[in-house]
Assembly symmetry: C2
Homo-oligomer: 400 residues x 2
């Protein structure tokens, strides 16, 4: 993995990733600053784990195998690591470029941060209730493009598209309001039958693990295209996810109570008894070409997200739609209450009206070519802090 992706994972984290090595993609797990090549380690683990799960070149077979297998594989890995039986399969992470760890089935992007949805409402519908009427009743969502999900480190080309020009006409041009959105992304596994629903209390059967997600957005294209059927080309050019998929088990110590949701009360099929939020911090960094990295904002998922992953899954299956291994659920932009906790340039620059000052002669409203956006996360483990991510991408100029 490239240097910006290099992180130091305690043994209780054990995230999964995929790298290319000797001409083959290999499923790996991360420990410290090393990876364990699970493809090579499969035989050493084979008493406890079906080696074919480790040798398929990615996470897909494991995602299909379901919760009992996920827990068994994780336990076997932890056991073998503690016993020193995987030492010969360790290599420094920095030697490898990351690959997307799984085949993204359907990508659903939610809109679950009340501060974010409120900011958007205040910006574009001033003087009215900032939240749409349905917002507190259900986790609003839409389908994104799964074929353009890319892994940490992949450059992102500025899109062109149709928009309203300054003269009121319609033009086709390179976006000049390119933005990021700081999100979490849940990687799903297992599968359901048509007509089956997943109750919020059963979400762990399908929530395999978590990535950081940057939902790149072209605001000028978005405002022109989105009515009446929602965003399309303003989002579909690229969505970046972190190379490391953090298993749900590693996140359990970070579980905290979720919002009360009493006004209005949630309908029974979305009601969640147990703690449904996760105490995850996210930082947004912007590095300008040839310059230093600036932290634009930082936010906490538990403090920002009204709807939980369990409720999002219950909602998404409430109509009987199936879940497939590899489905990806984005939380939507995670924005806190304060300005320095907002998760997009749209909010930070208040739709371009209030440039963000990064230095004496440096400011931004939206992203410039050469800018590198990096999301970094972290959460409390049992024995210390565990990093999540990072996910990084450089903005390349639009096609000529």
């Amino acid at each position: 993995m490239n240097r910006s992706s290099a992180v130091d994972f305690p043994i209780e984290a054990l995230p999964y990733g995929v790298v290319a090595h000797e001409g083959r993609e290999r499923l790996v797990a991360a420990v410290g600053t090393d990876l364990i090549d699970l493809d090579e380690a499969a035989d050493a683990l084979s008493g406890a784990i079906d080696p074919s799960l480790m040798r398929s070149g990615g996470l897909d077979r494991l995602l299909a195998a379901g919760r009992p297998t996920w827990s068994a594989v994780r336990a076997a890995l932890a056991d073998a690591l503690a016993g020193g039986r995987l030492d010969e399969f360790r290599r420094p992470v920095t030697r490898h470029a990351p690959r997307l760890a799984w085949h993204v089935a359907d990508f659903v992007d939610f809109y679950s941060s009340m501060n974010h949805a409120g900011n958007v409402g205040r910006m574009f519908r001033p003087g009215r209730d900032p939240l749409p009427p349905n917002w507190r009743h259900l986790p609003v969502a839409y389908h994104g493009r799964s074929g353009t999900v890319v892994v940490d480190g992949t450059p992102v080309r500025r899109p062109r598209g149709q928009r309203r020009g300054r003269d009121g006409g319609v033009e086709f041009a390179a976006s000049d309001r390119l933005d990021f959105e700081a999100e979490l992304g849940w990687v799903l596994g297992g599968s359901t039958e048509p007509g089956q629903t997943v109750a919020p209390g059963d979400a762990a059967e399908h929530l395999f693990g978590l990535v950081l997600l940057n939902d790149w957005s072209a605001r000028d294209l978005q405002s022109w295209e989105s009515a009446p059927l929602g965003p399309f080309l303003s989002k579909s050019f690229a969505t970046s996810v972190s190379a490391w998929v953090m298993p749900l088990e590693a996140l359990e110590p970070a579980r905290v109570p979720h919002p009360q949701q009493s006004d209005p009360p949630v309908l029974p099929h979305l009601a969640l008894a147990a703690d449904g939020a996760f105490d995850i911090d996210i930082e947004v960094w912007l590095r300008v070409a040839g310059g230093e990295a600036h932290m634009l904002s930082s936010m906490n998922a538990a403090g920002s997200l009204y709807w939980t992953a369990a409720q999002q899954l219950a909602h998404a299956t409430s109509n009987g739609a199936t879940v497939r291994p590899g489905d990806l659920f984005g939380t939507g932009t995670v924005s806190g209450v304060e300005r320095n906790e907002w998760g997009s340039m749209l909010e930070l620059s208040w739709n371009g009206a209030e440039p963000v000052r990064l230095g004496p002669a440096l400011e931004r409203t939206f992203l410039e070519d050469g800018d590198v956006v990096t999301l970094r996360g972290g959460f409390p483990g049992r024995h210390g802090r565990i990093p999540l991510g990072p996910v990084s991408g450089e903005v390349l100029p639009a096609p000529a």
Copy 2:
């Protein structure tokens, strides 16, 4: 295939499908009322065609291979058929249940019938311009759920979901405004690089073939959920496609001029010189449980669709988003000018206000349990009429 799917294809059609036979899924082509088992025929064709393209259990490898291979395979099949060299691999179509012929990558649903969009506008925004401001400038679209695309003959369970109740509150209930949408669906192949665009004139490189598509819709769920990010659960429970994928070559004799698009003129990246429309007729049939089939409406694609498939593809890639083998583009509901040409119950019953009379004591506003909706299509070939489809699905009751 079941009896309702049995059609009679002239040799110039040669659509592809997939059936299960002796425990294995097999790629097949249809001729008359027979299928040719291409898995079994692969060796007989192997001088002209890589046999692995025929033996992968579906269309996916062929879709990935690209236009020159598509043309070569079709020519080799036609040649071998004419020479009688495939007779031993023929079996009656009716012996087999159809399978979905390919793995759907991303599903994009457009909104390209002006009459349909206009009807929706007149219904829900009376007194204003029925078309959204962007509608004549770009082919409006959104991403649908690819994991719930099902093949002809698959029953569809009535979804439950959130909606506004009659008392103004919010409730979770079985949809009572279940609808169909009569559409065409383009199956795409080949692939593009990030940042690459596909000009309208190059669309044939990626338009592999055509299916009939029923975009099942729950109108009560849709009106509650759709603002601000578009339809989600009101569509995601099921989308039905025909078992037979009609190759673009077979459709060439049906090519006709597309609409002028002069008010406003289309921007250059969407401009299309050659004839972009297809003279395809669609019929919508409704069979009530234990009763006869009634033709609800019939429409012509060329007369109803403002935007062509070539323009939809140019639009979808105009931001640099990639195309993958297996992408599916729905046209959106195809509705003609006259009432008997409308492609949804929403329109035919004018949002439930004007029931459709089917017989002395039989009427419908939306679909009832046990109703079977069947779309049948057809278009002119060089030597006679060629059928397209059918696609059929029975409405099952909502889960208890």
